[in-house]
Every structure is written in structure tokens, then in C-alpha cells.
């Protein structure tokens, strides 16, 4: 079975995104979100590896009426594995995590990650109390992911198996203060 194309998955999740708030983990997930269209309510990370899910939790707790999506990679999620347990304590119903799992550290030479050796992130999320935790392998299932992140009671976790190919770079802005200010202004108005 052919793994999914990460850009196509992210594009289908972020088209007609309504009021969705997005945190993008560093590396390819941030490029994928940029390729889907740079947006002030997307906060892409260029560092602080392992933090994406926790930024999503803080945002979801602060904005309980908005849907919050963390899009990150398997390497980034592995570095913040404990945050799945922390999310499992508060279980915000408006938070979803999509891990684009290519089983590789794509920015550093395509070394295998733990998931390539069989580590099951969705099972970890399930054990931590996520309402839904699934591995997604087929394009027909991507619509389930989309309906979940926009409508289902969370926290939701989708580990989406994607091809390990290096795609053209599409970079978001890298000025962290700018990314922060534009997000808050778009969400909260002028401060």
C-alpha cells in the first residue's frame, strides 16, 4: 500500500479552514502548512522542538470555543511524548493532533525515527486518554480526519503515514515576534 502524500493531506485539512487555529511543528510540517497557504492563524515553529503539542494545549485551554489543530512530525512528537500524558489530564475537547509520520528525521538526513522500528504513537495517545487515536493509511480516511478536527469531541490524535520524500521547500515567515503578533491580532484584535 502506498503511503499518503503529506502536502495533499495537509491541503485537504486546511482548505476552507473556518476559524481553525493551527500550530505547525518545525521542519516539514511547517513547510506543508505554508504550502497550503500562509495564514495569520497558523503559528509555525522553527525551533523549540518537542513543544508543538503543548503550545496547542495552552491555546486550546485559552480558546475553548475555537478548534485547535497541531500539525507536527513523528520526530517532533517523539521529543514531546510526555505532553500526550499532560493533554490526557486536561483532555480539551477542541484539540486535535495530526502527526505526519514519514518514519524519518527529514531535516537531518532522513535517519529512521522510532516509528520506523514499530513504535506506535497512536497507541500511546490512546493509553493517555485521547478520545480518538488512529493510524491513517488510506486517502479515503483523510475525510474522517477532517471531520474529526472540525467537529468531533477531542482530544483527537491521528498518526498519518506519509511518504518519506523530500518536497520543495515552502517556507513560512521566520520572525518569531512577527508570527506571534500577527496570530494574536488576527485572533484577539489590536492589543
Amino acid at each position: 500500500m502506498k503511503a499518503l502524500n503529506r502536502r495533499a493531506v495537509v491541503a485537504s485539512l486546511l482548505e476552507r479552514r473556518e476559524g481553525l487555529l493551527v500550530v505547525a511543528g518545525l521542519g516539514a510540517p511547517a513547510w506543508d502548512c505554508a504550502a497550503a497557504g500562509d495564514h495569520p492563524l497558523t503559528f509555525p515553529l522553527w525551533g523549540a522542538m518537542g513543544s508543538a503539542a503543548m503550545i496547542g494545549l495552552g491555546l486550546a485551554l485559552a480558546q475553548p470555543k475555537r478548534r485547535v489543530l497541531v500539525v507536527t512530525g513523528d520526530g517532533e512528537m517523539l521529543m514531546g511524548l510526555g505532553s500526550l500524558a499532560t493533554i490526557g489530564v486536561r483532555r480539551p475537547g477542541n484539540l486535535s493532533i495530526v502527526v505526519l509520520d514519514n518514519e524519518r528525521y527529514g531535516e537531518t538526513g532522513m535517519q529512521k525515527t522510532h516509528t520506523a522500528y514499530g513504535v506506535d504513537l497512536a497507541a500511546v495517545a490512546r493509553a493517555c486518554g485521547f478520545a480518538t487515536a488512529r493510524i491513517i493509511r488510506r486517502s479515503a480516511e483523510v475525510s474522517d480526519v477532517r471531520s474529526g478536527i472540525y467537529r468531533s469531541k477531542g482530544p483527537l490524535f491521528f498518526q498519518v503515514k506519509v511518504k518519506a520524500d523530500a518536497l520543495p521547500l515552502v517556507l513560512p515567515p521566520r520572525d518569531g515576534a512577527h508570527l506571534k503578533h500577527r496570530f494574536r491580532e488576527a485572533l484577539l484584535g489590536a492589543q
Binding site: L21, S51, M54, G58, L61, T86, A177
Partner: protein, 184 residues
């Protein structure tokens, strides 16, 4: 007792965790994350009991740096409680404060200071002020119970009005030293 501390021996003046809790509340802190320390026991309980706050237990301190950044993106203020041993765990996550200018309020109970009976607490405790400085975090010091309200309010203003990163270091002499003797 010199100076303006007119009621240094009243129970209220000496309940410094309650004074910190009141300061956090008056500064509109809504998310309080923590890795426990015995010195934070009462403050953690007060935050859990406060319906205006969401208390978030962490598996490791760096999670709280991300949580605070997400809270700020969503328009809320956060505080992060830990002991000094946890400061080292935060190093790379502090990139968020240094690069993006996220406000950050850390409340750090000190180990490895005067009278410490666990030598394994000493290296990180002794390195804590300098480690924070290297990571771009300002430090303030709380050494006396009657100063808790004023110092905690100052720290919160540094974080949320100056929009800086600040750690309030709570001295071990204020907390007491862990005895390692059996409780009876």
C-alpha cells in the same frame, strides 16, 4: 524587624504561598502548570482549588514553556511552577521566549542552597541563576515571607506588562530543607 513590615508575625503575612496565589489571581493568571516541589505544595493546592485557574500537571518542566506560549497566543496569562532542578530541562524550549518574545513567568523553588542534604540537588541548584541568565530569563529573588506579595506582583508585571521572561527564585531558607528522616 526593621522597615515597613508592620505585621511580620501575623499568620497572613507569613503565608507566602497564599500571597503568591493572590498576586497571580490579581494579575489575571489563568493557566498554572507545574512539576511538583514540596516547597510549592500549598500554592499548587490553592491553584487547583481556584475555579478561575486551570492547573496543569506536567511530566517535565519544558512542557510549561510551550503551554505558556500557547496560552499567550490565545489571550491568556500563564505561570509555571518548578524546583530548581527543572530549570535545566527548560533550556531549548526557552527559545520561545528569546526568539518570539513570549511573556514567561516562572516560580522556582530553590534546592541546593544553604543546608541542602541531597548532594545531587546542588549542581543544578547552584547553576540555576546563571543558566536562566544565559537563556535570556531575568531573575528576581524571594527570601522573606513578608515580601512575597510585592515580589510576585513585580515578577508578574515584568512578564505581562514588559512582556519579558522572568523567574522568581524562592530561596531554600524560606522553604526549609528536606530532612530525609522517616515521618512518624
Amino acid at each position: 524587624m526593621p522597615g515597613k513590615a508592620s505585621q511580620p508575625h501575623s499568620a497572613e503575612a507569613l503565608d507566602w504561598p497564599a500571597a503568591i496565589h493572590s498576586a497571580l489571581k490579581s494579575q489575571r493568571v489563568r493557566q498554572v502548570s507545574y512539576v511538583p516541589d514540596a516547597g510549592h505544595k500549598r500554592l499548587i493546592e490553592l491553584c487547583h482549588a481556584d475555579r478561575s485557574m486551570t492547573a496543569v500537571p506536567l511530566t517535565t518542566e519544558e512542557e510549561g514553556i510551550g503551554l505558556a506560549a500557547g496560552a499567550w497566543l490565545g489571550g491568556e496569562r500563564a505561570a509555571l511552577l518548578m524546583q530548581s532542578s527543572g530549570v535545566g530541562n527548560c533550556a531549548n524550549a526557552l527559545t520561545l521566549a528569546a526568539t518570539c518574545g513570549f511573556p514567561l513567568l516562572m516560580l522556582v523553588t530553590m534546592r541546593g542552597e544553604a543546608g541542602e542534604r541531597n548532594p545531587w540537588q546542588v549542581p543544578m541548584g547552584q547553576a540555576t541563576p546563571e543558566a536562566l541568565r544565559l537563556a535570556g530569563v531575568r531573575t528576581l529573588r524571594l527570601g522573606r515571607a513578608e515580601e512575597a506579595s510585592a515580589v510576585a506582583n513585580t515578577a508578574a508585571k515584568v512578564a505581562f506588562e514588559e512582556q519579558g521572561a522572568v523567574a522568581l527564585l524562592i530561596s531554600q531558607q524560606l522553604i526549609g530543607v528536606k530532612s530525609f528522616e522517616e515521618k512518624r
